[in-house]
Symmetry: D2
């Protein structure tokens, strides 16, 4: 039998707290799960630093990847199979892309990618196409199969329908993570009705669309997403942890470039600092390794590096205030100046972080980046963009919400006698806003 | 105001997936949570290697410790306060012991303790009494307070009631972990009715007892515990992971003692290998650090060490069969012999692991170790040992159940052409049982 | 001890699927629950005819009333007690009003009230003030107490704070029914975070306000409410059941006024048909009694009454189409005419039903009816109306959504040979829209 | 297309709080649900009088019947289809039997059947075979089909496998009601892992068996069942309600036989009192009708009947004490005598009720009634009776537990001055036990 069609003798199941069970029947999927690159996802947390705020959020990308696979499997096996617009030859492609879509994530992805100008989607594709166990499995399906999978994940595939199942404004990725993150953090916001959404999804040539009767379920999903972003993902305490993480990485890179003599050399980071990261090095770096470095760097002589590492490991994060328009340029300059005067390097200890989200958007002709709209399939067969039918979605579409905060080390500024009056001026300035 | 009585200006809450919220009002508790030794618990998984079998079980001892604290807090504040046998002066002692009871756990505790003959309860006490941030906080309560907390955890306290709240056959520790592990793994077995159990608990001079009307809730709790042990905690795949973990540690220790020249020196293990572990070294070793070593040791020249590390990280565990009485001594000798002949060192690749549990037991006079029985408070005021009232508990009391398995590397034995006929004899022997 | 302060010797609990347990400690509350008027609520469904659509929705107003009481109890005991603006003398008033707020509901309230021009709030007050067991209990508290309770429920009380706890846009009534109806129907929409909402509520002189940090929880609550209305409460199948129910009552009343000779005389309805309903008659009529009449009236000679009763009991409801602006007056006249020609009385068999909801509104000066806005308590102490802070709420405030449907008996029109061509013309007209 | 193979154009779903959704695709099933006899189940509560104790338990047999159908549907479609021992021709038979298995229940079944010596299984068969809408639908499948369905429900079918799916010690009926009753009452006891149980069920020639790997799931199910029986189903307060219900029916029957002149004649009961109940009368009697009579009979002149009806409607039940061996025959005679002396008729006001359960049993040769044992399918293919493998089940098998209680009207005996000293002697006697 062709490898692509091989089935396990009995369905294997993974007990899953979100989907109850994840079902695997295809040999290809089973083999992919067993690869070292996929197992590595156990060492990358799904929500980065969020567990410092919501202690339940310690789950890894491993379970999420299985979850996205399971949603796609159910979408295909329970709903799409047998429908006109669905080509069952795409099934395996779709399942593999779902399972592997996050395989290129690095440790604490967000800060890591930003500091080193890396992109996890790019590495997902490299892992699929490079010299890896995953590549070896996919190649057994066909020589072009790794490329096909990579293109779906990279959104360059000609197969628009499959692409939309994995990444769009209502894709399996988002559906799984909202439910999963809600379960692990313990909040109720993310609990939209997955069963119903699956039942109203319909394959069409260019994308998945939603039966009109499921409109309220989509609204619920969009509101869940909105709530999760503002209550969980953008929580300022987690952002404070990320700010410190980013500053650690910045500092280590800078020290390395300045030939600082590390007690514990950052060998795992050499090619990353040089911005010539190899696939092998990339894969080696997971959260255990990174955390190990933070441990060791607590002992470095560089006061900034060791302080930041201690802060990260022991959860002594920065405080924050809203960073609003009330800040005049002169005041800001003064603040920077005062920090320096107080011997607190503002490059590491005074950080503005801005985050924003667009809960839902639709394509407007002539605009730059295209976001695939959510389309409703009306009883007449016509397709209508969601916000034209839902006045709740209409109300929030295209409205970007932004939160800007200023992070600073409360302890250094409010405690201690040295530079007391400079620090008091800092305090007055901060508290005047 | 005395430090022991200081309250936060507003109750702080931790969102918790098991208890919804964990409530902290006491300054002492807040300060303890902020210590580095307590934050370290985020880097020690609650269920060791179980996440390899139940992928949701990635939660750490941090959340569990908060959970035990919260159960004790509710027990006291919602049920005990105002009752005759309860002395409110014990409240803080009880809360601190609950919060800190697991603080001495090491990475992947079970295998780690066994190989190095360490005991986490002993280290919990050392952390409480030693030169640590936790000690500093506790000392601010009173100079004798650290000792009092340590004695409750060590079960040497004269305060039997408080001790029984933290460790007995129906204590806050077990109650939290059953619920928590059920939530994270996604199984339904652990879901006994905590609300009801709390409401029927009554403080008495020597221990917590249970109102007779709550007997069925206790039965449910005991059956939940039984199910969790056999379905989750003793799952053979997790035990296979532990077997490998233990063998890695054994091997590294042996190599170290034989002056093997490590590419990556086990500096974090020196005092542990020497069986003279210091508190400082103990605390430094968490699962990130240990995992880092496994990463590095994949590259060692020692074939056994590098193979075992690869197996652990990539989840290529040993297979297993029941190890029953059917094995004759001679057969076993032959098996060992065949492994050696096939060049597979049985000291590392052929492992018998036995696990057993006593779902409930009661004290029998004249017997060695005493287990505090669960006592029911009858309407008459009389106390009756649980198994005398519950025929279900009676049926299982004192009945130890044991599971013995033989673990071996399926891949090495079933694949490859070298020593093929020796290996085939191994297979015949294994499959004859 | 004063009756108002009497406590039960031990807290009594009711197992509740929404709040886990409902706790009763006050003798007054215990006595009220035991009255026949309160027990009668077990025979009035919480959601009227909704169980025909969502079969789980068979729960009565009894559990809901306990639930509202429990929310208020927790609000007071866990959050308000000890705060400046809270007067603990109001506690009992508040608990009683919460428990009794729905006691005046009749069978399948909505249709019943509309047809007979009754108002359940008015009857709630009559039951509290009239010659009832409830009145007797309340009077033992004080002679003016029944009046005080009635005024809170009637929203004429001077005690604005207490009134707002029971009825406002974010009151205990709504909070309980959203959660409860979600539990029983099995949908996930209603699951906002009650714990969090309770924790951020603050008593103020004129109303309960919400701490600013709880804004997202309020948004979630409002969106839950919106979803429940459109997905559950306004479901057209339940409305179809209500249409039939209303028509049964209309028909019976008309027949009675026309001296129709009932086989089963509507003795329970005499004073209601006469629009001079007595309190005693009102209380006697519950859903068991009304259903009994529908049973009996299936055997009446009047074809319309017996047909409608059969339809109701056996769930043979009317079909529906959207009733839009596309209908011209002439077409509508024609439709009425055709129904008559086909011998299907449009007064009973052609019904337009319109339903609408305002998800959230705030007071606009100069407008008629005032709706208490939801106020956020800012860190500065200032109060801000919710929609000024929440752009999601802003988007939907004051926007009334309406759904208008036309109900008709599909079976009578599509089946049968008599008047076939008239019926075909009806079909063409209906399907042209 | 044959009626038995007709499918709806799209799957219809019922939102269900236990199974999320119940899926219907077969036209036959859809038509059965629409019959008046099936819709009647909405007016029969699943748990009779339990809602007086657990107020959430107001759900009817309608939802349960859908649930049993859904479990069977999943068992067949997700697990059995394609397996050797499964004959897909039995699918429809099985689904119909599942859906209809409870259709013959009367109002408050337990007391009703006992008093009138009726049997709901017998009436289920009569409804399937008699002149009913259900019969008409089934006959369209084939002329013998009603008989086949009736035999499965009556356990006289030759098709042992199908019978065991619907009624055995681990059947779809029990699986649904445990989960459903747990959901509605709000207790956690009934939550065994249905998903897992379904996945390990295997069809065999004579019955469904369970894969050995699912043994712990079966244990959990059996323990859940045990807990539900003793905590919910046998709760003494619900039994007290049943005692009163039975006594009302007894009294009415007796009065009728004695030519008592009812103000409200029991016309619905004539054929029942005469023990010649017709199918038509049987079907007409539901809980609305019965409750209506209780309402009316509150006004009867017969003091016993009116008092008992008031007690039932207003939840003024009898108190109870354990009825143990401590009662001597003479004491019991004395008690009866004292009741008469106090003018409280012991035939209605002094009731011993005994209830018992066998949590699990297996067939023992030579014994009378056979209970189908639960069989485990071992890896070897051998079948082993459950209690031989599970020591927990072994411990409880065949052990009947019994609870015997004495019910009496606390109010009549403890209050009032008439016959005070006789009543005091009653109290002394009752309290001496």
């Amino acid at each position: 039998m062709l490898y692509r069609n091989q089935k396990l003798s009995e369905t294997k199941v993974f007990k899953d707290p979100v989907h109850r069970y994840v079902h695997v029947r295809d040999q290809v999927i089973w083999d992919l799960i067993g690869t070292e690159e996929f197992q590595r996802l156990r060492r990358i947390k799904q929500l980065g630093t969020t567990y410092f705020t919501f202690h339940g959020a310690e789950h890894s990308r491993f379970g999420h990847s299985l979850g996205v696979y399971e949603i796609i499997r159910r979408m295909i096996d329970d709903v799409f199979t047998g429908r006109e617009a669905w080509n069952d030859d795409d099934r395996l492609l779709c399942l593999c892309a779902a399972l592997l879509h996050d395989v290129g994530h690095g440790p604490f992805s967000h800060a890591y990618e930003k500091v080193f100008k890396l992109n996890h989607e790019e590495f997902t594709q490299k892992i699929i196409l490079g010299d890896t166990e995953i590549h070896a499995v996919l190649t057994k399906v066909s020589t072009t199969f790794p490329q096909e999978v990579a293109e779906v994940i990279g959104k360059t595939s000609k197969n628009k329908l499959v692409t939309s199942m994995i990444s769009s404004q209502i894709d399996a990725d988002r559906m799984d993570y909202l439910l999963r993150d809600a379960h692990f953090t313990g909040v109720s916001y993310g609990n939209f009705d997955l069963e119903r959404l699956l039942r109203v999804m319909r394959p069409q040539q260019h994308q998945v669309v939603i039966k009109h009767s499921g409109m309220h379920a989509v609204e619920h999903y969009i509101m869940s997403r909105y709530q999760m972003y503002w209550q969980i993902y953008f929580h300022p305490v987690s952002r404070s942890a990320e700010v410190i993480l980013a500053k650690i990485l910045h500092r280590a890179k800078k020290l390395h470039h300045e030939y600082y003599n590390f007690k514990h050399e950052p060998i795992h980071f050499y090619s990353i600092f040089a911005e010539e990261v190899t696939l092998e090095d990339y894969i080696k770096l997971d959260e255990a390794v990174m955390t190990y470095y933070f441990h060791m760097w607590q002992e470095e002589d560089d006061a900034i590096l060791s302080d930041l590492c201690r802060r990260f490991l022991n959860r002594k994060f920065f405080q924050y205030v809203d960073f609003t328009d009330k800040w005049e340029v002169e005041e800001w300059s003064e603040l920077l100046h005062l920090f320096k005067e107080a011997n607190i390097d503002p490059a590491y200890y005074l950080v503005v972080d801005s985050t924003s989200d667009l809960p839902y958007d639709f394509y407007r002709e002539g605009e730059g980046e295209e976001r695939l709209p959510i389309l409703l399939l009306m009883p007449s067969g016509e397709l209508r963009e969601l916000s034209r039918e839902s006045y709740i979605v209409e109300a929030i579409s295209g409205k970007k919400q932004t939160d800007k905060k200023l992070f600073y080390p409360h302890d250094l500024i409010y405690n201690g006698e040295d530079n007391r009056d400079v620090k008091d001026r800092i305090i007055r300035l901060l508290e005047s806003k």
